[in-house]
């Protein structure tokens, strides 16, 4: 069958599943006074439409920052403004200043879901299609299989179309960045990633690999010749992009500072709620939050995160290949997720995107991680009443990806790329037990079904991301 037929069918199926999930409830549905992320997005449309730009990030009588104040960079605000204009055309009640708080109706839900779908269709889905067509190896069928699996990754679908967020936009822009870098269009790739950074500040998790890869590549080309020219080109692109996004806030230093204060809330503590990272898990045994002061917590997480990401970044600087870049993306985002400050459980999506890019090369490990990442968000999904879509999409992803990518047939040690581990293990003292990682990974594939019986929120899935991070650093 022709490629474009298969690709179009995969896209249609991906969109169908997304729309199917959107029938379910969203975060904070029917729960006054604060509601949830859905109301936050609606509120931002209200604020950006009715108030002048100078007031968006400030506490005023019309803009109460305690009620879902804007805490994303300017591009999110501009996106909300665009949606608000459309909303105003359909029904002005939806964005009435101070009068539309907690507005809920079937028509409004349809509109909001449609905005998420529009963003996905314009940004995320084309990026995935292009990535699978041009940057993956294998036959047409294999590429389309990878495309379908990435499109059906449950975590992103459930959060964007269930809980309600616009992760598809930021992750899509990042993917365009990866695409640009992979195809050799460094300036365009940097542009896309800068836009991603200006949409959600959490994309900083991916920033270091981008930086190291580009710097390493320029160094390869010679820092006194072509390399310098490329470096300057990239730097100018990034600076111009940032300048354009922050333009309205650059007139007054206080504006820019306030935005920074809103998007980096250092006062909020090491972690909130339950999240599958190192600090939350450690807190079960040692109550870090009470032992250390707020500042110490901050410095500790900073130090450990830096320690975790340094090896892969240095390796990337030395050998800037695309494969190394993908691995560094995984490593960096996972390290930040596990050890960083004020991490939310939804941030696992930032690690899930690079792992999706590895689906074709390391199917079993990638599928395993993606299943676990969705599972780690289960408490949040249960709170939103999304158990049925979770069960359906997770099961569908597991069945389809295992079948389409022949995951269970490709798990010899060589195929799992564990040579690095073997070399490392050779250096260890003889009396330490040698773990046969390949066998463990093959056995671990039975874990996802069994972990469903033990819904220990957050702490249990933490182990797997740790092991994955360790494995990749060894390469």
């Amino acid at each position: 069958m022709e490629t474009c037929t298969l690709v179009s069918m995969s896209i249609l199926l991906g969109v169908l599943v997304r729309w199917g999930v959107s029938f379910n409830s969203y975060s904070g549905a029917g729960k006054p006074p604060m509601f949830g992320d859905y109301e936050a997005q609606r509120h931002w449309q209200e604020v950006t439409y009715n108030l002048p730009i100078q007031e968006w990030y400030f506490n005023t009588t019309d803009n109460d920052l305690n009620y879902w104040g804007l805490d994303y960079p300017p591009l999110t605000a501009f996106h909300s403004l665009l949606c608000a204009h459309v909303a105003k055309l359909i029904n002005p009640e939806w964005v009435k200043l101070l009068g539309s708080r907690g507005y809920e109706s079937p028509a409004h839900k349809l509109f909001m879901r449609a905005t998420v779908l529009a963003a996905d269709l314009l940004v995320y889905i084309p990026a995935v299609v292009l990535y699978c067509c041009y940057l993956t190896n294998g036959s047409t069928n294999k590429k389309v299989g990878t495309l379908l699996c990435i499109l059906l990754y449950p975590g992103l679908i459930l959060i964007d179309y269930g809980h309600f967020q616009y992760n598809g936009l930021s992750l899509g822009l990042t993917l365009w960045g990866v695409l640009g870098l992979g195809l050799g269009w460094d300036a365009l790739g940097s542009l896309a990633f800068s836009l991603a950074l200006n949409y959600k500040q959490m994309e900083l998790y991916h920033a270091l690999p981008f930086f190291c890869y580009l710097l390493g590549k320029c160094a390869r080309q010679g820092l006194t010749g072509r390399g310098l020219f490329s470096l300057v080109k990239i730097a100018v692109t990034v600076l111009v992009t940032f300048a354009l996004c922050w333009l309205p806030f650059l007139s007054d230093p206080e504006q820019a500072l306030q935005v920074l204060r809103r998007i980096f809330p250092v006062a909020r503590g090491l972690f909130e709620d339950k999240v599958a990272n190192a600090w939350c898990s450690l807190n079960v045994l040692i109550k870090i939050r009470s032992i250390l002061s707020s500042d110490s917590q901050f410095y500790l997480s900073f130090a450990v995160t830096l320690l975790a990401i340094t090896p892969s970044s240095l390796k990337l600087l030395k050998t800037p290949t695309f494969w190394q870049f993908k691995l560094a993306l995984v490593n960096s985002s996972l390290a930040f997720f596990l050890f960083s400050y004020q991490v939310h459980e939804k941030s696992i999506l930032l690690a899930a995107l690079p792992v999706c890019l590895l689906l074709n090369d390391l199917p079993l490990v990638a599928i395993y991680f993606l299943q676990v990442s969705t599972f780690s968000m289960l408490p949040l999904l249960l709170k939103d009443g999304l158990l049925m879509p979770y069960a359906v999409t997770s099961l569908a992803f597991l069945v389809l990806s295992t079948h389409l990518l022949s995951a269970l047939e490709r798990c010899t040690e060589a195929q799992l790329r564990l040579e690095g581990y073997r070399r490392l293990a050779a250096w260890l003292p003889a009396w330490l037990p040698r773990l046969d990682l390949a066998r463990i990974i093959r056995r671990k594939r039975w874990f996802p079904p069994s972990t469903l019986q033990m819904p220990v929120p957050g702490t249990f899935p933490n182990i797997r991301p740790c092991q994955l991070a360790v494995k990749h650093r060894g390469q």
Binding site: M1, L12, W19, G20, L110, G145, T393, V399, H403
Partner: protein, 515 residues
């Protein structure tokens, strides 16, 4: 996509995937048919058998044969564990989340019959040469076209019905006949007949075929009938199978003397020729012609406006209607037309059966004939076409038109993307797969046919986008339904005629071959 060695894993993967997709739409829109089945669950669970066909607290009275009532009774035993409230007859329009979950899941589980039947059909599909690429194998294409059928998906899992379950039995009986296990095939058909009596339409095809190929055990060398080979034993055994199933189904009601009441529920001829939304069959064209002629007559002064009937046939009222210019149609007339339409196909299968394939063609022809000419057909009767091989082009026309005619069933804005996406998915796949299967034999569709199908897109845009924003939305609200119905009726009628032409020309070429 899978490694070449793993050739059997694709069917379970397909089946599981489509079942999971069905579960995703549990919270989508459901029609009044949902309440119909909830009411039947309540009736069969809470009331004694003697009251089942007399109960009319709700307007949705039991109008399927008794075997379906037993099926609902069985379901109600499981329903007890979900929500007892749905089993109370007085709880009209009761739709708690647990009720919705149970009913939707019951459809998904009932579809297991359908999945099994599709598997059986796939094993009977002959493959001339085993293609290396899984996507090009006929059994794979057939499995996808059946399991992921747009019509069944929309009608069963969103609108809410049990057609997959019923169609599964029908498909199973067809598969058994193709495998020459005729008694078993007759058993499954009797079951489906007692589940939904609309299948009476295809009973003549079964009857003639079984009589010709099963009761007469041998043919002459030229393929014609050998009268001497009639086997009374086989006829009796067939009759026994059919009668025993019918007895099991109707038995208790006959014993209680309720047969007339049951029959009056099953065949409600008081309803009009056409439902509120016209099924795209012959009568839709007939009505439009009548309307057009009457308007012309008034213009030319040949008819008196005051003498014309007032009520609109698509205005949502389900009642008997008098035509203005053309002769009015009564139930016996419609039945006669249906039988006449079936006759050529039955004659063909009697004269030269051509084995299982001939039977299948006759079956499809009869089903289509009944759809075209019957009294009070619901648009949902359309998804009845089975597998065609050299008639791939006709299948594409019929399937696409038939599926599009289901669009008005889902009229809510939230479900609009679903029907468009699913329709595109199914249409793209069917065109692509069939073109691959028959590559090198020329184009499957005539340019005019392709133009007609593209016209469906235009009709859709007109009806769902342009018209609601136009000033006529208030004054002529039935126009989109009318346009959809008539446009599709053209396509369906055309396919019907072409199928017959194909059947009869094949008959002629067979004759000339033997000469």
């Amino acid at each position: 996509m899978a490694a070449p060695v793993e050739s059997s894993g694709w069917f379970p993967a397909l089946a599981i995937a489509v079942s999971l997709l069905k579960c995703l739409f549990i919270n989508a829109y459901h029609s009044t048919d949902f309440e119909v089945h909830r009411n039947w669950l309540a009736i069969t669970h809470s009331l004694p058998i003697s009251r089942w066909y007399y109960e009319n607290t709700s307007e949705w009275t039991l109008d399927y044969p008794p075997l379906f009532a037993w099926f609902e009774y069985g379901l109600s035993q499981a329903a007890v564990h979900f929500d007892r409230g749905m089993l109370v007859v007085e709880n009209l329009n009761y739709a708690s989340p647990a009720t919705i979950l149970f009913q939707r899941l019951s459809v998904v589980f009932a579809d297991l019959v359908f999945i099994y039947a599709v598997k059986e059909c796939c094993t009977t599909v002959r493959e001339e040469k085993a293609a290396k690429d899984l996507l090009r194998r006929p059994c794979f294409v057939l499995a996808v076209l059946l399991l992921w059928n747009f019509g069944l998906f929309i009608v069963d899992h969103i609108h809410f019905q049990y057609n997959g379950f019923l169609f599964g039995f029908l498909l199973l009986s067809v598969a058994r006949h193709l495998q020459a296990r005729h008694l078993e095939g007759a058993l499954w058909f009797s079951i489906v007949l007692n589940l939904k009596h609309i299948n009476l339409y295809v009973a003549p095809a079964y009857g003639i075929y079984l009589l010709r190929c099963f009761c007469f055990t041998q043919d002459n060398t030229d393929g014609s009938l050998r009268w001497r080979s009639f086997s009374p034993v086989r006829l009796v055994s067939l009759g026994a199978v059919v009668l025993s199933v019918t007895a099991a189904s109707f038995g208790p009601f006959v014993a209680m003397g309720q047969l007339p009441q049951v029959l009056s529920r099953l065949f409600p001829f008081k309803r009009g020729l056409c439902h509120a939304y016209w099924a795209p069959n012959f009568w839709a064209l007939y009505n439009v012609l009548d309307k057009a002629l009457s308007m012309l007559g008034v213009r030319l002064g040949l008819l008196d406006v005051a003498g014309l009937p007032k009520a609109s046939m698509t205005g949502g009222l389900v009642q008997e209607f008098q035509h203005a210019v053309l002769p009015s149609v009564s139930p016996p007339t419609a039945l006669l037309c249906t039988l006449l339409a079936m006759l050529p196909a039955l004659w063909c299968v009697w004269r030269r059966p051509c084995g299982g394939r001939g039977f299948l063609r006759c079956l499809v022809q009869c089903a289509l004939a009944s759809f075209m000419f019957s009294w009070h057909v619901h648009e949902k009767a359309a998804p009845a076409s089975g597998e065609h091989r050299r008639d791939a082009g006709i299948f594409l026309m019929l399937a696409t038109t038939g599926h599009y005619s289901l669009f008005p069933l889902l009229f809510t804005p939230a479900e609009f993307p679903i029907k468009v996406l699913l329709m595109l998915l199914f249409t793209i796949y069917s065109f692509s797969a069939l073109r691959n299967l028959f590559s090198g034999e020329g184009s499957l569709l005539h340019p005019l046919e392709a133009l007609y199908l593209l016209g469906l897109v235009a009709v859709e845009v007109l009806c769902e986008v342009v018209f609601p924003l136009s000033p006529w939305q208030q004054t002529l609200p039935f126009v989109p339904l009318l346009v959809t119905s008539v446009y599709c009726a053209l396509g369906v009628s055309y396919s019907f005629v072409r199928l017959y032409v194909s059947l009869l020309t094949q008959e002629v070429t067979e004759k000339t071959k033997r000469l």
